[in-house]
């Protein structure tokens, strides 16, 4: 299987520059500089490769880059390493095992959009390990002259600055991240204007996920067709899936898009607790839950998962076996959004707490059937009425959990305890 972001993981000293160089590291970057490949050519290659953003929304990366206006003004690139979506832990490992791929990807992206300054925003919890590894790699890259002023004597300038977050999930939302980098309170902005037109410090800015950027160098080196062809079963390219929850060997797996979920489950050692598969959240806690049977028939690519009424999202696959109580899971998810709402828009600020409190009431054995209707109604009032997608992310799980597991919720209310043991 072809590995891109995770290629270094199995090597000795995976994060070192030497390791990266032995795996064709910085060759794409040198190719661009030596052959003076034009910006538009790079954007076209990325477009043709069909590379989609791996941060959650799955937006076509090449298309996004092409929105940058052609002008002399300052532009910025931001790498989104805030990875806080529950169930997602892929960027964490890229940062610690393959930081140079991120740096090279950031360089290529910056070059393509004409940015002389790039930021990598790491979540605060990465302070102890990933932050250090990334900074060390960046230092090496500076020393080698890949980054900085007058890169490899070409006269080109691109500086990369790492930024450390302070523990807010919402800063992963791209415009909140821009606010945070500007030194303000991390709250999403209204769109339009989109960052590509008016982003960081009101200048054109592209924000991409860590995995997206770390994938870019190999596409440039080996071509768009090569990348596309890595996918199977109508999928294009590859994606890291973070297998967690009720699996024997939780891990990150970089697999072709289109890989059947059952294969992925097998790779992670199958369902744990000697139990059967009950449900899967296939793309991080913000996406709708899917019943186990349906998931076993689903391939891991954008369209297939959409057909299963969910989304591929960030690739955080949360597996749940039959011993898991859905009421408790939903309560836990709701608590997360309640705690992480930035608080600026009314439906999200007031609604997330309301949802969580009703669910807690149910868990405490004080729920009524009417509460379930109320949960659905409130989720409906939040959905589509907020500034950023966090509001929807809080509403969608509620709807899908009730939709798929209504009986279990009813049972809990009637019997004041969970339907499943445990």
């Amino acid at each position: 299987m072809t590995l891109i972001c995770t290629e270094t993981y199995s090597k000795q000293e995976p994060a070192s520059l030497e390791t990266y160089l032995t795996l064709e590291g910085y060759q794409a970057w040198q190719k661009i500089l030596n052959n003076k490949i034009s910006k538009s050519e790079i954007i076209n290659q990325i477009k043709e490769s069909g590379l989609r953003g791996k941060g959650g929304a799955g937006f076509l990366t090449g298309l996004k880059w092409s929105f940058i206006p052609i002008s002399d003004e300052q532009k910025y690139l931001v790498c989104n390493s805030d990875e806080s979506e529950p169930g997602t832990c892929k960027d964490r490992d890229i940062l610690r095992y393959n930081p140079h791929a991120i740096i090279e990807g950031m360089l290529i992206a910056s070059y393509a959009i004409g940015a002389s300054v790039a930021y990598n925003y790491l979540r605060g919890e990465f302070l102890d390990e990933q932050w250090k590894v990334f900074n060390k790699a960046l230092e090496e890259a500076y020393q080698k002259g890949y980054v900085g002023n007058n890169i490899l004597s070409t006269g080109l300038t691109i500086n990369i600055f790492p930024v450390l977050g302070a523990g807010a999930y919402i800063v992963g939302e791209e415009t909140a991240m821009l606010e945070a980098i500007e030194g303000k309170r991390g709250m999403p902005r209204i769109k339009p204007p989109f960052p590509a037109i008016k982003g960081l410090f009101a200048k054109p800015t592209i924000i991409n996920n860590t995995e997206t950027l770390a994938t870019v160098p190999k596409i440039i080196l080996k071509g768009a067709e090569w990348y596309k062809s890595l996918g199977i079963n109508n999928g294009e390219g590859v994606k890291i899936f973070c297998m967690s929850g009720s699996v024997q060997k939780p891990n990150n797996f970089e697999v072709p898009l289109g890989t059947p979920f059952s294969n992925l489950l097998e790779m992670s050692g199958g369902v744990s607790n000697n139990s059967k598969l009950k449900a899967v959240i296939p793309g991080g806690s913000s996406v709708p839950v899917v019943k186990g049977e349906l998931m076993l028939d689903t391939n891991m690519d954008y369209d297939s998962i959409l057909k299963a009424n969910s989304m591929l999202g960030s690739g955080g696959v949360i597996v749940m076996d039959e011993t898991i109580c859905m009421v408790k899971v939903l309560q836990r998810i709701s608590r997360f959004y309640y705690g992480e709402s930035c608080g600026q828009c009314t439906p999200c600020r007031e609604g997330t707490g309301w949802l969580y409190k009703i669910l807690t009431n149910i868990i405490d054995g004080n729920g009524t059937i009417n509460d379930l209707h109320e949960l659905e109604r409130i989720a409906g009032l939040i959905e589509g009425h907020c500034i950023c997608a966090l509001g929807d992310a809080a509403a969608l799980p509620v709807k899908s959990f009730l939709n798929n597991f209504w009986d279990e919720f009813e049972y809990y209310i009637d019997n004041k305890k969970s339907m499943v043991v445990g």
Binding site: I190, G339, G343, C345, G351, T352, W354
Partner: protein, 769 residues
Amino acid sequence: MEIFINNKSYTAEDGETIIQIADKFDIHIPRFCYHKHLSIVANCRMCLVDIEGFKFAQPACSTLVQDGMKISTQSAKTKNAQKSTMEFLLINHPLDCPICDQGGECELQDVSLEYGDDHSNYMQFKRVVVDRDVSPLISTDMTRCIHCSRCVRFGEEVAATKELGLLDRGENMKIDSFIEKNIDSELSGNMIDLCPVGALNNKPYRYSARTWDLSQKKGISPHDCIGSNIFYHIYNNKIVRAVPAENENINQTWLSDRDRFGYEGIYAEDRCKRPMIKKNEKLLTCDWDTAIKTLNQNLNTLKNEKKLDSLGCLISPQSTCEELYLFQKVFREFGANNIDHRTIEKDFDYQQDYPVMPTLGCDIKDLEAYDNVILVGVNIKKEFPILSVRMIQAQNKKTQFFSINFQSSNEDFNPAISLALRNDQLREFLDYLSNKTNKPNYIEEKMFHYIFKYIKSNKKNLIVIGPSIGQLPNQTEILYSLNQYSKKINADFGYLTEHCNNTASWLLGVLPHRLPLGKRVDKEGLNAYQMIEKKLSNYIFYNLEPECDFWNNDLVEDALKTSKMNVFFSSFMTPFIAKYADIVLPISTFAETHGSFINIEGSYQAYKQIIRPKKEIKLGWEVLNNLLFINGANNYTFDTLQNEIKNNIQDFDVTTNNNFKLSNQPLKYIQKDIFKFTLRNTYNTDQIVRRSKSLQQTRTGKLKNILLSNDLFSSHKKGYLEFIDKDKNIKSELYNSDQSLPHNTIAYQSYKIGDAFVGARTGTVKIKS
């Protein structure tokens, strides 16, 4: 382009939002976070409207119109979206409307009436936010906050001083100041107006009335020369609060705290309540008839004995146009020549060449048309807070500000250069800018570099002279040098004046050397300083506080002591008046009379009586009119008086050049010893503001320490300060150092009765070591 709202067609421009079009055509869309003078954040989600082609309702405040867009403000989708926002807002909002001052004018209450439900589905605990005491002017009930962030954006965008911010997140997000009692900007009261609910309320007004019982009268600010428009709210013939009256040309939708809370001074305990006359060394109440007759008799005696040269007639430029005009008219009819309003000045050598009426040199709203504005002798934030708003707006449009003052000005906008100079240095500095000879060595080279780089004669430049210049013993010299410089850089010339009606005082001839409209007098009288210094035998003081409103209050006391007759037309009974008055005539404040002011851009603004005065207090203009009448002149009504003034001034061209040429180059002022000056503190500027209880409780209101420049402070080791001001020995423990003062300088912060102000406003002192 054409858009459709509720199936009706409207024309709209590219870049407009749905709410702007709706507002233009009076189509109601509820909103909380949107405000036309603040940035758009679309966080309250109250304005959601149904737009064809969109799955969900979209915010009208942030959605730009597009050609052919079809919007419905009435459809079920719109109503449901708005209802859901309302439901969310109300779950945590307390139901304490009956005890909330906002009740009756609460935007949430209004919308709730329309969209709210009559019961709540929310069965959980409601959020409670602990309140802190953030300001003497604003009361907080943060449990009522709906997080619209208007107050925060006001601080960030309009006042450019962020006093309230958002803390925590999600449901626990709250509006708070980072430091307790931290709200003390000069514009903080605007947050009260902006807050759509009762979270931020007017503290002094708290619980004093229900809004529906109030009546409203329009007034013009008497506290500065900007002339902000104000609505006074009245309950039982008492002003209980003030809010801005919108005037896009002047104060827009804002009001300074001084204008909002200044009126409280009217209700001070030391109001003069009855006419009084001194008999056997005792000041006793009498009736109006006796008071006026005695005054008239005394004046006529002076006239008959041809002793009017011994009469000094002084009036405050805080008086209305009608009072100012009648004042000079009455005393000129008697034959007096010593008439003046410039009581805070010392040096009058400039007066022959001065413009007929000083103005800003441009309309207030046009400040932003200048590339460079050079402010000399003024701290806008402290002295003209409402103008800060305009200057921040101008700065956002790329106007550069340069500030030269005796203390480096702390402004809400960011002057490109802010210099602190002594009065002797000021002239050297200005002369160097004009002639490039004798470079002052106390200014960094890079400052000059910057000034010469940007302030060029091919740019649009404005020089603004502040009221502090008027207090200088060498004001003429500074005006002369500024004049030279303005020619050099081709600048417009403008003034900001001490009080609300200095412009009218000049125009209406309240001067020893000019009649109304700048006409020459036959015989020139004494100026304000001479009248005091020469210790005349008779004085008329109109609207003046002898302790605080003069260049040197010690000299005033000396003069009062020795004179034969001291007549006070006054609203307040000050200690000096109680001690030295022979006749006291209790007159109206600005609020108790009809009146008018001419603001610094030359706009004549009239207003009607706001409240009736107490029984024995008379309207100032009526008393003056009475004096005229009993001497055989025609009786004015207020209207005939106002018309006479209007007719007089209507032909006067406001745009006449402010610039003037001084005939003689003044001698160079030599500074000996330590330069001493008095700061014009925001809440000390006039007798009404000095009596506003709420304003005096603010941090600014409480300032009283004497400030020493760093060099003086560090060489001074005693625990108290002892210095000689003229021949007076002053001792004080209230002093500290101030980095923003130039070397060898000491500044008084206040000139309230009983505070540290002593002697001359500017001059020299010697410190005793």
